[in-house]
């Protein structure tokens, strides 16, 4: 086989490998899109657009190596997300109200959690101590660093790390297995 033919075979093999690796990135891409755009149709469309642009780039020989794929795909995702923000801005530029800034109390990840899961999580949370709930609130709602929380509470950060880890493990245990049923926690409002 000629050298040119060898190269062609290698290029095809690389492209195929990139396609396979790209598919593995989809769950993470969905989270990134939801984080930046809010969970919903816009995020789903953004993921499809990222995949389409990535596949087109593969045909142009980019990226050079599968090792570079996550950063390369993240770069595409950034552009797609910026494009989506531009589209939204154009749509509302003329009629923008003064309070059109994103509401600071709403998290874009909120939409990832359906009502049933949230209700089950609420019941599981009630099984935790008030101190552990407060720790999780300061972590996952206020986004504080563990070192900062440790200092304000006068506790070693290592102890807080363990406490947070144990609280998360207890939540997982309470919420049951992967089928999403909150098996161990009876719903006090449920009727049988």
């Amino acid at each position: 086989m000629s050298r040119a033919a060898d190269m062609l075979v290698m290029e095809r093999a690389t492209r195929e490998l990139l396609r396979q690796e790209l598919l593995k990135l989809v769950p993470g891409l969905e989270l990134v899109a939801a984080r930046r755009l809010g969970a919903g149709a816009d995020a789903e469309e953004a993921v499809q657009e990222v995949l389409a642009r990535a596949l087109a780039a593969f045909d142009r020989g980019m990226p050079a190596s599968p090792d570079m794929l996550p950063a390369f795909v993240h770069g595409i995702a950034r552009h797609v997300i910026i494009d989506e923000h531009r589209r939204r801005t154009r749509w509302r530029t003329d009629a923008v109200a003064l309070d059109a800034l994103p509401a600071p109390e709403v998290s874009p990840l909120q939409g990832l959690t359906d009502a049933a899961t949230q209700a089950a999580m609420g019941r599981a949370m009630r099984q935790l101590s008030r101190r552990d709930r407060e720790l999780l609130r300061r972590c996952f709602v206020d986004g504080e660093r563990l070192a900062t929380i440790a200092r304000t509470l006068g506790e070693p950060a290592s102890r807080l790390r363990k406490r947070k880890s144990r609280a998360l493990a207890r939540l997982r245990a309470l919420l049951g297995d992967a089928d999403g049923t909150a098996g161990h926690i009876p719903d006090p409002t449920a009727t049988t």
Binding site: P104, Q110, M121, R145, D177
Partner: protein
């Protein structure tokens, strides 16, 4: 939602990166680095999904789980209600915050003097011009709105910096942190030193002394206006931080 114990993350991810990502308090560079990792890490994906459920549950007002003391809740309401009442006055008035949060006040907003050049017809430039006109007039709400629109079209350190300052004036410390972090890129831009100083102020409003000290230390020692103020503020933070 899967709630089984996730596989272990094999990356070098700090203990608080996931929860800070969920809460939206990572800096832009940290967020980008974590998201690239997130694309390939099933463990972190599971942690983010779990964290999102915790976040949603604890934020829901009627969940009965909000364990923030009542006095703190009223302070939060005050913080969000004040801009509508008197945004400008907020800059001069120190709220009833205790400890290092008091140090997050801004007595003098950075001045902006428009250059006498013909402005661009590009939409981003026009929005930025409108935003800066509002900023100079002290209308920080309108300034924040226009500058946010301009930044969505085209990022620039200047737009991000004055957007961050407008949000700080409106007491949106979280928004200010995000915008001022964006003004730090590229690191040697003309607004970077001031952005470090004021993002420290924004972090102080969150009560986060470590983050504030990190940014105060990044203000160049030879900065004519800010080096002395940054040192003095850092000393005050160290004195008051628990």
């Amino acid at each position: 939602m899967s709630m089984t114990a996730p596989p272990r993350c094999t990356g070098e991810i700090a203990d608080d990166t996931v929860h800070r990502y969920v809460a939206g308090t990572l800096g832009e560079a940290e967020e980008t680095a974590f998201e690239i990792h997130l694309l390939t890490c099933a463990a972190c994906q599971a942690e983010v999904r779990t964290g999102a459920a915790i976040h949603a549950t604890l934020r829901t007002a009627d969940s009965g789980l909000a364990s923030v003391p009542a006095w703190q809740r009223s302070r939060r309401v005050l913080r969000w209600a004040l801009p509508a009442v008197a945004a400008a006055a907020l800059l001069l008035v120190v709220l009833d915050r205790d400890g290092i949060e008091q140090l997050g006040g801004v007595a003098d907003m950075p001045a902006f003097s428009p250059l006498p050049v013909r402005s661009s017809a590009a939409p981003a430039a026009q929005l930025a011009d409108q935003g800066m006109a509002a900023y100079v007039a002290g209308d920080y709400r309108l300034a924040a709105t226009r500058l946010a629109e301009a930044a969505a079209l085209e990022t620039s350190p200047g737009t991000s910096f004055f957007l961050g300052m407008s949000l700080l004036a409106l007491d949106d410390a979280t928004g200010a942190v995000r915008a001022l972090h964006a003004a730090l890129e590229p690191p040697d831009n003309a607004y970077a030193a001031e952005a470090h100083y004021y993002v420290a102020k924004a972090w102080l409003r969150h009560g986060m002394a470590d983050s504030a000290l990190h940014h105060l230390a990044a203000v160049p020692a030879n900065h004519v206006l800010l080096s002395g103020r940054a040192r003095a503020l850092a000393d005050s933070v160290r004195t008051r931080a628990p």
